[in-house]
Every structure is written in C-alpha cells, then in structure tokens.
Amino acid sequence: MSMPLIFEKSRPGRKAYSLPELDVPKKETSDSLPEWARRKQDPSLPEISEVDLIRHFTELSRRNFGVDQGFYPLGSCTMKYNPKINEDVAALPGFNNIHPYQPEELVQGALELMYEFGRDLCEISGMHEASLQPAAGAHGELTGLMIIKAYHESRGEGEKRTKVIVPDSAHGTNPASAAFCGYRVVEVKSDERGGVDLDSLREVISDDVAALMLTNPNTLGLFDENAVEIAEIVHNAGGLLYYDGANMNAIVGIVRPGDMGFDVLHYNVHKTFSAPHGGGGPGCGAIAVKEFLAPFLPVPVVEKQGDRYVLNYNRPQSIGMVKGFYGNFNVMVKGFAYIRSLGAEGLRKVAETAVLNANYVMTKLKEYYNLPYDRFCKHEFVIDSSRQVKHGVHTGDIAKALLDLAFHAPTIYFPLIVREAMMIEPTETESKETLDAFIEAMIKIAELAETSPETLQTAPHHTVVGRLDDVTAARKPIPRWTPPEE
C-alpha cells in the first residue's frame, strides 16, 4: 500500500517545533536586510504535529529492511551485525559535541582516538601511515590515486604515466575514481580461474601505467593467487599497486595487502569494521600507504608529539585536502571500538568465519545453481541463474522472490563478467540456522523456477509495494513532490 508523503499530511498552522522566547531585540528583516538579500517566497515545508511526525517516520522505518530485520547477503557490502555498544560510545557527548576548530588541547581524546585508529589500520594492512579523511570507499580510491599521481609527478613521470589498469571484474567505483583523477582507464581481462589474466596484463603494461587497482579477493569472491606476480609485473614497469579494501573482511589477520606488494589501500570502515551503512551512508574510507607515499597524504595528518596529539598541516608534498576537516569522525569511533573489542584473535576469527560461511552456502547451493568458478571462495561467491533462465526465470526474479521469504537479496547482475550473476556474502555474524534457512529458501526458489516460473516472475507478492517500474522512472523522472494544482 502507498503511504502519504509528509507534505500531504501538512495542515496550515500545525507545528512540532518550539524555540525559546527571543530575549534580544527582534530584527525586522526589512530593516536589517536590503530587498535584494531577502527571500521572496517562503519554502513550503510541511506543517505537522510532533506525534504525527514521529508516526510518519516510524511507519517509514517499518517499510525498510536492515541487518537487524534479517539476513542481508548483499555481496561486496559486508552486511554484518552492527554492535550496539559501538552506537552508544559514538553517541557520547564527548565525541558529538565538539567543534573541529576547537583548540587542540581541548580535543586530545578525539585526536588520540584518530591516531590510534590510524595505527591499527596500518598494522592490519601492513602499511606505514594512514589518512582518515576520505568519507567513503570511492573517496578513498580517489585519494589513493591522487597520491599515486603526486608520487609520479615528484619523480618527473607525471606526464608520462597516464593510465590506470582495472580488471574487468572491478567495482564500478574503480574506473570512475581513476577517471575522476584524470587517468585513462585500461581494462584487463580475467582468466578462466577468475583472476587477472597475466598475459593480458603483460600486453597492456608499459611505462605509461601509473597504477593497477586490484580487489583481492576480487568481486567473484576469489583470491587472486597471482597477487605477488601481478605486483612484480606492475612494479617492474614503474607502476604502483592500489588495493581496493572492500573485501578486507576475507583476509583480516591472515594476509596483509602491504605484504602482498600493494602500495596504498582504502578501507571501508563501514564494511570490515562493522560501522552501519545508514541506508547508504555515511561511511569512512580511510586509506593507508607505504612509507614512500606518506609525504603525499592529505592534510591534516594526526601526529603524536611527546604525549600530545596534533594536527599537522605542514606537509609540503601533500595532495591537499579531499574533504572539509578530518573525515567522518563518528564512523571512525565505531570502527575503532570494533577493532578494540575484537583484538587480533577476534579479527582473524572474523575472516575465518566469513570464509567458512560463504563456502558452506556455496557448497550447498551449487547443486541447484550454476557456479561459474568452482573453487574455494573467500567471504563471498558468485552463482548465476543460467539453469533457471531456461524456464524464463532471471536473476532479478530470484532476488524479488527472496524478498517475499523475508531475506534481503544478494547483489545482482554484478560482477559484469558473469551473466545473470548473484553475489552472495553471508558475513561471519550469521548462525548456521540462518544460513540453512537461506539455503532452503534458495532451493525452494530453484524448484519453483521449474514448477511455477510465473510465481517468481511476478514476485514480490508480500512486500508493501510490488515490482516497481524503473523504465518509466528513468524516462520521465519525478524526483520531487509537487503540490496538486488547485
């Protein structure tokens, strides 16, 4: 059923807000502002009582599915449980009610947390120095590439190195970030085992390559066994190695990107380190680099001088700022709390269990769905619906059918190199019972694809709205509410 918009509930004269009586002389806008500075037409904000406001957004929340509502195997997004204690400590007034321009001596706790978090991120990745400024994974990618560019320029090779190599299995943000950094994107093919095809790589590698961006395990959930060789090929040509940390959940405590030869990486703190995704954000895309790239990090950098923490802006080779202030601090608090809860043992257990869970579900499902790359996966795996397509049932239909069974759908139609892909990432926080229930649901859907394909083709049937028309939405966009004509 459709729900009215908050604007449609508005009645002239109602209000939720209250403000103190003005205790200074009122300024008439007509006196203190020239006519050209004044607003002509009032904005039509809704007029609603507080109870109706609360009911409106509460009702909206009931029409939304999060990790707390059920299993969310959205591949590449690491939808693990978001610990409640992290929410509580991040909401402490000592973290929330501080201004970024307060004198350093009044924010030593915040700076200490950032410093320690940066050190933890370096240890976990095998890197030397971190910047917490990027707001999200894609922002971290862009920042990392800017650092790579600054490094090449510092060696007089900026003009020459114009290309960034990206595997065809990469996240869309990789080529987009490279382009946003002014690079030309060269795609390299995957081999039959799902890794980077070394011959294709050797063909495109030359002294005009600035970097190769690699997600490892990649978006197929497969560890690229040739990681070390890939690093050698790129390094020998003078290029640098960028590690997309979206899939760090598979390897924390087991292998470190720095030890595999990568020079810079970004984390998705909102994936690996349990900060919630907030319905799309905010995230934290912290980056960490090897020592030779540290001079190029964005300013400011949090440093420790004696027992004092400072923000250092005086780094002459820095790429500059990539965002206002210091990053999404509140998300850092959650990531830091998570790392400190788990410690080294806990983090390793995260990777081991995430990989165990994925392999368990994969093993159980490969009898019913096509598994294009049949080998041990890491934290996620990709199956496709080629067997179901014969009955007219596509990946999109399977995803919608899962919604009816109270599961979130996997990531679908990605990676692009697998037709009708379904990318399933269970994460480590799901119990065997939950995984078994999901497996059962997927098996049931596979059976329905043969016996009753139309049930799937018209799914979902039990959600608050049915399948939505995305074609018309894109062709004739209605991106805002407008009052009905009187």
């Binding site: 402490l92 009044l106 706790g109 799309g280 210091y326 926080t429 065997k432 399948r467 966009p477 991106p479």
Partner: protein, 446 residues
C-alpha cells in the same frame, strides 16, 4: 569479545559439509610466503564493559560545547538538535540498511530521500536535488566538475570569501582533472563583482560564491550570477540552509546549481563529520548531476512507490564515464535533515533564522561598544560576523576560554592579512545572558 555465533559443533558440521578438515584449507590459495605468520600487533580484546570505559575516558579528554559557551562557527554550527531527530535515525530499520537497491523492501528509506529531495528543492528554489554528497567542501568540487561537463569549459572561478577548506578541496579535485581554478578577491568582506566581470570569459565553466560568505557577509548573488551568465558560464551558489528561512533562495537570484553544508539541519558538530553535503540544480542539468537520485514511480498494480533512478549517470553502470565516482553518500544525515526540517516546518525555519540573525546582530552591537572593538565589514550579515580587536585574537581566544567561552575563530589561521580579526557565530542556542557574558569577558581582555 566477538560477534561470531558458531559453536564448535556448528563449525565441524559445516567443515564436513564442505568436505574439508580445517578452516585453513580454505586459505590454501593464498601464497604462504605472504601470509601473516604472527598475530596482528593490536591491544588485547576488550569486553563491552572495558570498551565502554575506555571510550568514555577518551571522550572525557575532550572539552565539549556543553561545558563551554560556543561562538565558534566557520562552517560548523552549534544549532539545536531536537530529540525527534535522534529517535528516528536510531531506528535500526534505517541505520542498519544498505543503499536501497531492492526498492520493494526499502520504501522507507526511498520515500524519506524523496521527501529530503523535495525539502532541499523548496529551500533552494531549484528543481532537482540529489540524495546527498559527502560535505560542503566536496559538494563544491562536484559542482565545479559538473559545470565543466555541462559547458565543456575548463576554468572555475571562485571567490576568496568562500570557506578556505572548500577552496582547498576544490583545488585538489581540480588539479587532478586538469581544471584551472581562478580566485576572485574580496573588498570589505564582499566578493569584488567587478573583478568577476574582468575574470569571467568564454572559458569559464562556472563562478562560485558562498552566501553568507566565510566572513558572514551577505553577497549580492544576483549581480554575480549576472556576471557569470553574461559569458554563458554557470553560477554556483554555496548556501547555509538555515539562512534560507529568510535569505533569498538560489533559484530566486539565478543560480544554476546550489550546494552547501547542511550540518545545521539536525546533525551534531561531531568534530567535523559526518555532515551533509547537498546539491540542487535546474531541471535541464539533471542528467549531469552526481550521486543518487530517488524518483517516484508505480508498481505492477499501479500503486505509488519510489526507486533509485537515472542510474545511467552512476559509476556502477557507467564506470569511467560516470558523472562522479561517489557511491556511499550521507543517507542517514539526509534523514536527520528531513526530520529536522519537518519538525521546524514552514514557520520554524523562518523563526530559527530570525532568532539567529537577531542574536548575532545584538552580539555585534554590544561588542562594538567595547573600546577598540569594531565589526570589520559593512555588508549586511546573518548569523556570523568578523570583529577587529586591539588584542591578538589568539591571545583573546585563550583568555575567553578562562571564562568557559569558545570565542570564535581567529581569522589569521586562513587569512594572514586578517590576523587582527575574530570570526564570531551566534545561533539560536545562545541567550542574551551568554552574549552579555562574552562582551564582559572580552572587555576585560582588551
């Protein structure tokens, strides 16, 4: 402490089902020479109790704006955050969800973003809003690259009276994209419109001004827009959404794109983030807009619903030809702003803006009575203004802290030539008593 539910029995059953004897076999494809042969060097794990204590200790090392009376602004403002905001954004149906890719089970988030987009269009007087950007600084950078694509021009003109960190961020982005950034000077705190006219040319993609600007001065945006349009460049207005309760909307003075920082709309200062970058634009530019956009549509039974739309602009479809690389945005902050603006409503947004302005003007008048203290600029202002003081502002700020007053931003930090000036912000939260307290404390120091 960890959050793994498996018992040993679960684990062995699962290993058996996979057909292996130990978990390490699942990692056999990682070359052993690069595998970590030790434990990570991290402090030992903490129980929930220990963690709460540790984090509370760290938080306790910060002095908060609850402990001081703050007149510090400069892009981040101590506005009141009503209780309703926290209660709604703490609903885990919202905060533990991912991006609403599966629309049928994400109608709550999608509809709230649709409402957010409508609110931002209303406030800015423009046609289209996206679902959010990281912050005010990156929103300016995105507006510049968007303008460059729309005009196929490579030059960005920005006023030196725009927030220094926004300009700094813009320059980082622009440098890497090969865009040239030219800065327009200000005179008496306001952007020099004549200088814009001289600089703008048929190479100019856009002209960017902030209103009120970094010094709190209200700019003559219409004249700047006219100067930009004269050469068919776009005009980008960076605005404070709270000010739009009374100040002219970007749509009213001819802006093509409006951007800004919406932290003031129900989001805590939080040491600088997460905040809320926003962007709205005219209808004809919709397909070059960066970031997610939610649109209304119908389901297979004709019922109204909402969906992520125009995705052909975005990185997951368009890859290196996308309008931006942005993926995760600031969705939960946009929800906070939606709740906040709904709480204020049509009257509240006006009243909060009027109170800010009245209190800031009262503070300015009272401060100006102190011998040797004067407002620096003559332009009209809203909630922030700069004063010149006979004592070094850094010394002054330290002195004010003795009276538990966070006394504003010494401008020398960003403008060495203004090292005798202090930027003071006054929101609706400040009382007459607190303002009088500032005046008394300051008078004692000069």
């Amino acid at each position: 402490m960890d959050y793994v539910p498996h018992t040993n029995e679960d684990r062995s059953e699962m290993l058996k089902a996979i057909g292996i004897s130990g978990i390490e076999e699942l990692f056999s494809d990682i070359p052993s020479e690069v595998k970590l042969d030790r434990k990570l060097d991290l402090p030992p794990p903490m129980s929930e109790l220990e963690l709460r204590k540790h984090l509370s200790e760290l938080a306790g090392k910060n002095t908060t704006t609850d402990d001081m009376v703050s007149f510090l602004g400069a892009g981040v403002y101590d506005h009141y955050v009503p209780s309703v905001v926290k209660h709604i954004i703490s609903r885990s149906e919202f905060y533990t969800a991912y991006t609403p890719y599966q629309a049928e089970v994400s109608q709550g988030m999608l509809q709230s973003i649709f409402e957010y987009q409508t609110l931002m269009c209303e406030l800015t007087g423009l046609d289209i809003s996206n679902a959010s950007l990281y912050d005010g600084a990156t929103a300016i950078a995105e507006a510049a690259t968007m303008s460059s694509r729309l005009t196929r021009r490579q030059e960005i003109i920005i006023s030196q009276a725009v927030h220094p960190e926004y300009r700094s961020t813009l320059k980082t982005y622009a440098y890497n994209l090969g865009l040239e950034v030219k800065e327009v000077p200000f005179t008496d705190g306001s952007t020099d419109i004549e200088a814009i006219k001289e600089l703008v040319s048929d190479k100019t993609a856009c002209v960017i001004l902030q209103n009120p600007n970094f010094f709190g001065c209200i700019e003559n945006m219409a004249l700047a827009a006219e100067a930009a349009h004269e050469k068919k460049a776009l005009f980008v207005a960076c605005v404070d959404p709270i000010s739009l309760g009374i100040l002219a909307a970007p749509g009213e003075y001819g802006a093509d794109i409006a951007v800004g920082e919406a932290q003031g709309l129900g989001i805590p200062m939080g040491f600088g983030g997460p905040h809320l970058g926003f962007m709205t634009c005219r209808q004809q530019y919709i397909r070059q807009m960066p970031g997610r956009v939610v649109g209304e549509t119908r389901d297979n039974q004709g019922r109204r619903g909402y969906i992520l739309t125009l995705q052909a602009r975005e990185q997951h479809i368009r890859r290196e030809r996308a309008t931006s690389n942005i993926c995760s945005n600031q969705a939960l902050c946009a929800l906070a702003a939606t709740v906040y603006l709904s709480w204020l409503g049509k009257q509240g947004i006006k009243e909060v803006a009027e109170q800010c302005m009245a209190k800031a003007h009262y503070a300015c008048e009272e401060l100006s009575k102190i011998p040797g203290v004067e407002r620096m600029h003559r332009a009209p202002f809203f909630k922030e203004f700069a004063i010149r003081t006979p004592v070094n502002p850094e010394t002054l700020s330290k002195g004010l802290l003795e009276s538990n007053i966070l006394g504003g931003l010494p401008l020398g930090r960003f403008y060495p030539e203004l090292s005798d000036s202090l930027l003071i912000a006054v929101t609706e939260k400040r009382t007459k008593e607190e303002i009088d307290g500032l005046c008394r404390a300051l008078e004692g120091l000069v």
